[in-house]
């Protein structure tokens, strides 16, 4: 039932994860592994395109928080792009919105990193 897909790409030498589907207790482990893989390769600035993410549970938010904290320790950042209203609500409700850099689109997230 719970399905999520992650597409890896490299845009302007910045790793971008394009996630689609539901990020819940089951699928968040895949996202955690994908992020950990990039962080282990010393990629310190990552972009997640969440345009096609329709649901984010607290387990999913935990994974994003943990990755953000790791990246910030390496002077890096985790940029989120194109949040759907439901997903954005999870960020604003919990207050996590204050810690993430959130952009309207993947393009804008990447542009901000190039500056």
């Amino acid at each position: 039932m719970s399905k999520m897909e992650i597409i890896h790409s490299l845009i302007e030498d910045i790793p971008v994860l394009t996630v689609s589907g539901k990020i819940d207790a089951v699928t968040s482990k895949d996202l955690e592994n994908a992020l950990a893989g990039l962080i282990d390769k010393n990629r310190n600035f990552l972009v997640i395109d969440m345009e096609k993410v329709e649901y984010l549970s607290s387990s999913g938010l935990r994974v994003l928080m943990a990755s953000l904290n790791k990246l910030k320790k390496n002077q890096g950042d985790l940029l989120l792009a194109a949040l759907q209203p439901f997903v954005k609500e999870v960020f604003s409700l919990t207050g996590a919105i204050r810690f993430f850099s959130i952009y309207p689109s993947q393009k804008e997230a990447i542009t901000s990193l190039q500056r």
Binding site: L61, R62, A96
Partner: protein
């Protein structure tokens, strides 16, 4: 010539069939399974020796005449008995086979008897050395070599030499091949049974572990239940009901009450995730919030304290774990509720006079996300008939078969519809509406709700 080839082949096929049936029977027998499990009783070893001895006797009797040469598979029984069941069985089967062959007489009797006995003894020694059945390829190669040795032995001790030479030159190739083929069949069947037993043992072990884990979870669930208030307080003028239903055995939701000096402190909280990790974090968070709830401290000070302690003590920085928490302090005399909300689903307040619903918004970040956070405090005055509903996201994020969420608007309707009832009835009614919506879909997150109704 063609006829004799067919009839001789049929006899050979018959012998092969008997061997297959024998192998299947013995490999499924209790004594053989005891051997595989490494704990054969003396009785089992005796039975196996007897069985393989009979196979050896059969090998002697059948003495297949193949294209003029007599082929015997007498050594096969002791060989298999030794290789698969150890020296005791090998020796027993070998002696039985040897005794029978000796009683038949003939000028090759000494050589053939010695060979039968040695087959069992050497097979048994190999088993002892390897600690187990040595496998299909090894056993088959060993059978071929042993038959070669049998032929040489016949030449060495059977007299007159000319006759021995005659027999050996005719029978050696078919006998070596027949015993090798017989061993191949036996070894294949035995190896299968051994693998099957190993898989079964592994499965049993796995199931045992699973049972232990389940039992541990039951204990954990009992411990966690004891963390929830055993008795819901019933202060004068208020009607209170509460429930918490974890999605798994244990969960990350909790609620808490504490009454002192005319003030009822109420807490509802939801740890990120579910299951055991959430349960551990829940236990820690609950005790920290209690520890921070000293008198004279206001709601927002309590949350600031709890947040700092959780960040410092829980490793939430690495795990990303957090807990959303609503803390309210209700003055039982003037019915003023002071609250602070750390990223928790805003509780709903049904107003009896206007039949409308107010939300008690978030006033700060979920606990554990970042140290040094501030939590604003707000207050609201409750009136007769008002109903306060605290809940966790397991309710609004419950899904039906079409993957629609129950959502806040359905929850509002459920609350409004039931607001005239008692606190427990309101709670039951909301859960009933929820169950009607999800239609038996598996509960995916912990569900917790507290209802407080002003009755006096």
């Amino acid at each position: 010539m063609a006829n004799s080839l067919i009839s001789d082949s049929l006899v050979l096929l018959q012998a092969v069939s008997v061997i297959i049936v024998a192998a299947l029977l013995i490999s499924r027998s209790r004594p053989f399974k005891e051997v595989i499990d490494g704990r054969p009783t003396a009785e089992s070893q005796m039975l196996l020796a007897l069985f393989f001895g009979m196979v050896s006797i059969y090998g002697s009797i059948i003495g297949i005449s193949f294209l003029g040469a007599i082929i015997s598979v007498r050594d096969l029984g002791p060989l298999v008995g030794g290789l698969a069941c150890g020296p005791v069985v090998g020796l027993g089967a070998g002696l039985i086979g040897a005794a029978f062959r000796f009683s038949e007489g003939g000028f090759t009797a000494p050589a053939c008897s010695i060979a039968a006995a040695l087959a069992g003894i050497i097979g048994g020694i190999i088993y002892r050395r390897k600690g187990r059945f040595p496998g299909i390829a090894f056993s088959t190669a060993f059978a071929l070599l042993f038959e070669l040795f049998h032929m040489l032995l016949t030449l060495a001790i059977s007299r007159p030499f000319d006759m021995a030479m005659d027999v050996v030159s005719q029978a050696s190739v078919p006998m070596i091949l027949a015993n090798g083929a017989g061993m191949l069949i036996f070894a294949f069947i035995i190896e299968n049974v051994i693998r099957e037993r190993e898989t079964m043992r592994e499965r049993d072990r796995y199931q045992m572990e699973l049972q232990i884990k389940k039992a541990e979870l039951v204990v954990a669930a009992d411990i966690q239940k004891s963390f929830l208030p055993g008795k819901i307080p019933s202060p004068k003028g208020f009607d209170i009901a509460a429930t918490s239903i974890p999605a798994k055995e244990v969960g990350g939701d909790f609620y808490d009450f504490a009454m002192q000096e005319g003030i009822l402190q109420l807490v509802i909280a939801d740890v990120s995730g579910k299951g055991v990790p959430a349960a551990l974090f829940m236990a820690l968070s609950r005790i920290i919030v209690r520890a921070c709830s000293v008198p004279l401290r206001s709601g927002f000070e309590r949350l600031r304290c709890a947040n700092k302690m959780i960040v410092d003590e829980s490793g939430s920085d690495t795990s990303g774990m957090f807990v959303t928490l609503f803390l309210g302090r209700l003055n039982l005399l003037d019915r003023i509720l002071v609250y602070a909300n750390a990223g928790h689903n805003p509780p709903l307040l049904f107003r009896a006079d206007s039949k409308s619903i107010e939300k008690m918004d978030v006033t700060g970040v979920a606990l554990g996300m970042m140290a040094e956070m501030e939590y604003e405090q707000r207050q609201v005055s409750l009136a007769f008939g008002d109903v306060l509903l605290l809940y966790t996201d397991g309710i609004v994020e419950a899904m039906n078969k079409k993957e629609d969420l129950f959502g806040e608007s359905r929850l509002r309707s459920a609350l409004t519809a039931a607001a005239g009832l008692s606190a427990q009835e309101i709670l039951d009614s909301i859960l009933r509406d929820l169950a009607g919506f999800t239609e038996g879909m598996e509960q995916s997150d912990d569900i917790t709700a507290v209802v407080i109704k002003v009755t006096g």
